[in-house]
Symmetry: C2
Subunit: 536 residues, 2 copies
């Protein structure tokens, strides 16, 4: 990663967002009032889209740009489903359908599903067991008027957008948190952000294309791209992640002939708690990146699983701890605005997900983008995964919408923020105590699951003797595993394997292990470093 | 569709399967005994594959052929996930992992999930409510020794093969029902058969390729193929579906130049209760098709959502009804053997699913194929959908494995067979009563959800006056919808739009509506036909 640098980019002919005031998001009361005026489509496989649920405030804004020029041949060729189109006749009163091949709910072998979930703010395992509430999903709750969603609907086929019930929740959530500054944004549920990313590549890219990524990036994102013949052009980073001047440089100096590919038009970035570096882009940084995107007409994919794992400021072991945000408004203000929230052009595709904030096993995620793009995703999913699990959607609806509502969900997210703050403090404090600062350095992460430790490998005895970066990284990794601590090697996350690595890094996650194990693991890693660097 | 024809194909140099005795499948007791000797991997995202669960009887058989020559560039380029490969270190005793970015189960906001399900053989909605049993999934049932699967595992990330818990169930089920005649078959769970089919096309085909399909086929299957630049070559059918001599003809006379494409090497077929024709291939037909596949080295994809919707023989309203199979053995014997069960070469990919037999909303399906092919699918899903919903998998496990076991599941499938027999009898009896046989004809379906009604359109007054097939099909469709009955037009399912249609068909599903509505709908369709053909 490069050192931090003053940004100095000449940008012309683009909308300036830096002076734009991000308007206050919708309050939870506004959402409640608006919802009371809307109607939930509750039939089997009922069509729904975000426009049914967005507040009127969304429409006094300009429309998104069109992206026809960057859609793939595959995406352009997708048409509406013949059979789904026939569903329009079902609205005719008295119609008996012998049309679609949907099974009868008579043959779904479930009488009801009960879930016991925590009651805000009592979120711990013990409190959940003691004070949790039980929510029931029955077969015919819609018909019986006891719920807007039930087994009869959730267990049958659904639409590729996801059910109206969950689509409403994520649409409202998106307006509360991000409030995009253009009018025609929409959401579509997906079976996880990896599936969203796979679809993104197939919708926007052709074999042979380059995409732009951070120089260290989520290895699965690259492994999704490579078999499709899509390569990554790497942009340098500092402790705030992606460097706008490096992005501008890569694009300005793109040599089609040397690269054997047209100039990239798609940026993949993880703005908050970046995987693997843990770096988080400030709002100023995001604005600068957005300007460069405008200059080069770049489309931005912001993959944001860790957005709500933003933390309170880091405090050393001997410092006073920072209290939790005292209310929802303060919490929302404390979040760094997303690319989506400054996206005046509709050039951002946001990949959002419940995996890191509720449960990865639900395989329910969503995207936010302009109507044109969301429509192409919907067509794509109709002919692949069809819709996220209805069982997962029903259980998330019972928890997030019926039991918690947006208010309880924000309470939960504040709780997570404090939990991850504690976990981050634990690992950084352990590093301060146990790692040899002669060779190891780091920046305390402000979001996400990852701590990125830089090692000054050139001081390694074998480096002095001429051994390679790779050999030394492997030696340190092995010294750690021999001491029973597993970390990830930085080179696993290199976007462009043709570029020589100057720095050396190890990624340690503080999301999974209990606090005492994290401390013990860092202690062992410190021992491994000392042994390798002959510091003991 | 063509009239039935005597099959006369010269086939040389291939294994003859027609004299092969399909061995008795494993009994449920055999499965139970073998399971007692195996071990379930129960860790977070634990690796599993079918070899852990297949009985020793599987291994005294030849290996599958290799299919390297028909894998796509995309499929060939897929490598193992770097991060998943690092999981091998987790087996080291005492290891503390700061490796993978999996969230801690502390932050899954569910204390337990209860499901109330029917107790075999009391399967009706009323009986389920009265006599059903409640099964509970808690957070730490594995640790507590009360179950092999729990929320801690199901709510976290999983493997692309699916969980060991559900993989064991479908592997055993596959051995009980299909018992493939080669050794190295495996299963992999998928998020639905449409996703399996999308992956199949991407794993085997390149842009510009043709695949072979029945002349009328599932329109979504074609809509999945077309945006990928894959076209369909149509094979003629009779009331048993795919005609082997037509298949042989298409392949033998393939003209690469005229078609602008290499000879097809992949057949997509729905052997049982084909969508849309309702046709079911007899075992003799399947053997003939398999022989043609061997002759041309064709790879067979059998899409079998309706396999367990095979029915008892059709009886007219005044005839005696056929009783249910009296035990599991009789039931299994009554099923037409699958392509998988005669697949001596490992040239069959079976797409199997819970959608039509348990719940489409679960979005849990599976594939069966040789190890080489299943491994490529696993790599594919790792970088797209990751794994089917863990919540769905847990709920299916509780129902199918813990509550019912294979015995209760076969009871359920027998029940479904009888339910669909009744539904099929209702629609066919209504056709006998209400449709004008001067212009309408049909074969009672023996499997599936669909009744395929042929209309002698050349007798239509407008046809005599020179109007087109399409115009008359539309007129009949409109006459039906005006009378409040929705059927599907046969032309929606045409595989090759460049071929003129000789016959005219309408597809009516008997899966969804209640019996009285089915009868009323057919009565209305009869009225529409009479009005259109001026028969009243």
């Amino acid at each position: 990663m490069s050192p931090p640098a003053a940004v100095d980019i000449e940008v012309t002919g683009v909308t300036d967002t830096s002076s734009m005031v991000i308007p206050d998001p919708l309050t939870l009361d506004d959402v409640k009032a608006w919802r009371a005026k809307t109607k939930m489509p509750t039939g089997v496989a009922a069509m729904a889209n975000s426009d049914m649920f967005k507040s009127p405030a969304c429409y006094n804004k300009p429309s998104a740009k069109r992206w026809d020029h960057i859609l793939s041949a595959e995406a352009k060729a997708r048409k509406s489903s013949t059979l789904k189109a026939a569903a329009k006749y079902l609205k005719q009163p008295g119609m008996i359908s012998l049309g679609g091949g949907l099974p009868s709910s008579e043959y779904f072998p479930f009488d009801h599903i009960d879930i016991k979930v925590p009651e805000p703010p009592r979120f711990s395992e013990d409190e959940m067991r003691k004070y949790g509430k039980v929510a029931r999903a029955g077969r015919h709750d819609i018909r019986d008027g006891t719920s807007e969603y039930d087994l009869e609907i959730a267990l049958n086929y659904g639409q590729a957008t996801g059910s109206g019930q969950m689509l409403r929740f994520v649409t409202e959530h998106t307006e509360i948190v991000h409030n995009p500054p253009y009018s025609d944004w929409q959401c579509c549920l997906t079976p996880g952000s990896t599936a969203s990313w796979d679809a993104t590549l197939r919708i926007f890219c052709e074999r042979g294309d380059y995409i732009i990524t951070e120089e260290y990036t989520f290895s699965t994102a690259l492994e999704t791209a490579h078999p499709l013949g899509i390569r990554a052009a790497a942009v340098k980073m500092d402790e705030q992640g992606l460097l706008p001047e490096s992005l501008d440089d890569v694009l300005t100096n793109w040599d089609e002939k040397a690269r054997g590919a047209r100039k990239p038009y798609l940026l993949y970035t993880v703005p908050s708690g970046q995987n693997p570096t843990g770096a988080t882009q400030s709002i100023e940084r995001r604005r600068e990146v957005y300007k460069v995107a405008q200059k080069h007409d770049l489309y931005i994919v912001e993959d944001e699983p860790y957005y709500f794992l933003q933390m309170q400021p880091y405090t050393r072991a001997d410092g006073p701890s920072v209290p939790a945000p005292s209310n929802h408004k303060e919490f929302l203000k404390a979040l760094i605005p997303s690319f989506l929230s400054i996206d005046v052009d509709g050039r951002v595709l946001r990949l959002d997900s419940f995996s890191k904030v509720v449960s990865p096993g639900s395989r329910v995620a969503w995207i936010v983008a302009s109507e044109q793009i969301v429509e192409r995703f919907t067509r794509h999913f109709e002919c692949s995964t069809q819709n996220p699990s209805g069982i997962s959607q029903l259980i998330l609806f019972k928890l997030l919408d019926e039991q918690w509502g947006h208010s309880g969900y924000l309470d939960w997210l504040i709780n997570l923020r404090m939990q991850y703050t504690n976990r981050r403090n634990t690992i950084v404090q352990a590093c301060e105590k146990y790692l040899p600062t002669e060779v190891a350095s780091w920046t305390p992460p402000t979001a996400g699951m990852f701590h990125w430790i830089q090692v000054d490998w050139k001081k390694h005895p074998k480096a002095i003797a001429g051994e390679s970066h790779d050999a030394i990284e492997e030696a340190i990794f092995n010294a750690a595993t021999e001491r029973n601590v597993l970390v990830s090697r930085g080179s696993w996350f290199k976007a462009d394997s043709t570029v020589d690595e100057d720095g050396m890094f190890f990624r340690a996650t503080f999301a999974a292990a209990p606090a005492d194990k994290i401390t013990e693991a860092i202690k062992r890693f410190g021992e491994a470093l000392r042994a390798e660097f002959r510091l003991c």
